[in-house]
Amino acid sequence: MKKTLQTLIVLTLIFTGFSFTTTYEGYDIGDIATDFKLENIDGNMVSMADYPDAKGFIITFTCNTCPYAVAYEDRINDLNKKYANKGYPVIAIMPNNPETKPGDKMEAMKARAKAKGFTFPYLMDKGQKIYPQYGATKTPHIYVLEKTQKGPIVKYIGAIDDNYQDAKAVKQHYVENAVDALLNGEPIAEPKTRAIGCSIKL
């Protein structure tokens, strides 16, 4: 009896441990990313599957209310302008709970996209189901995916570049370097980077 109890306790501990790690881990380089079907600011639902001609995607978790995300809005727009017609469109996903952050409600997303002239879809992660699977923790948080037979493979995770304050002072264009490398069939020199951002609001 004692032994059974011990086994039970050990098993419980193991399972709790597992459930914790699966909850928080998210994707690493080489993982296959899940597709999604999320509402865009124009009312349509958008999936990666809607882009049969894309070679991959620049999935950008961003929002209206984080100053870091705002500092990068123009640069996200530029990424889409530069890479959409080369096969790597930007798809932006707003991961915050709009009840916690009213500035990130769908109406506010529409207004922001219009004011900034977003040329890419800006989707609401309704129910916050997608960002935890990716493992996004903050805005902005970028995942560059490459389409393969098996599905979209995660090739880059991290920041857009190395200077949120001043686009002109950027020395390392991490996302551009990653997509350029994919387009040229070369390995990505820096597949993971980190930057300060606003934690995603539950």
């Binding site: 100053p67 952050k101 304050q165 980190r194 930057a195 300060i196």
Partner: protein, 173 residues
Amino acid sequence: MRFIYFCLLLTCFACKNEPKAQNSQNEPEPTVAVDSLKVYNFEEFESLLHKKDDQVYVINFWATWCAPCIKELPSFEKLNKVYATSNVEVILVSLDFPNQYDSKLKPYISSKGLKSKVVALNDPDSNSWIPKVNPDWSGAIPATLIYNKNERKFYEQSFEYPELEKALIQFLN
């Protein structure tokens, strides 16, 4: 613009000429000090993460625009007050944008009457320094490092006071 630089320069000199306070013997010198706010780049800031004295340091990364940071700030203030005589030092590291030091950060510090030490960290190349704070930090704030000369723990999360106190107490025993 030049005038502003001149003022900054003056402020710098003014600071350096001041007689040093007793507890600031081991303080790194920031490049820029605006009024009473010390602004560090990471290189200057890093020594605050590796002090070898007998104190416990509670280093909280925050910004005035970060709602969960503002929400938990009173817990850090309370911790600072309750454990003031227990060799605990709370340091609030602001990641506010430099163009908001005067318009947002300093007014916030004075209007809330923050008693904990506040410094500003301004180093835009965060990919280079985030792993030096902690290898597991994704870069999201709020985030908190608690350390003494023997051990350190990093928390990428928000705190309520009871959890924060519990986290600190591990370092006091």
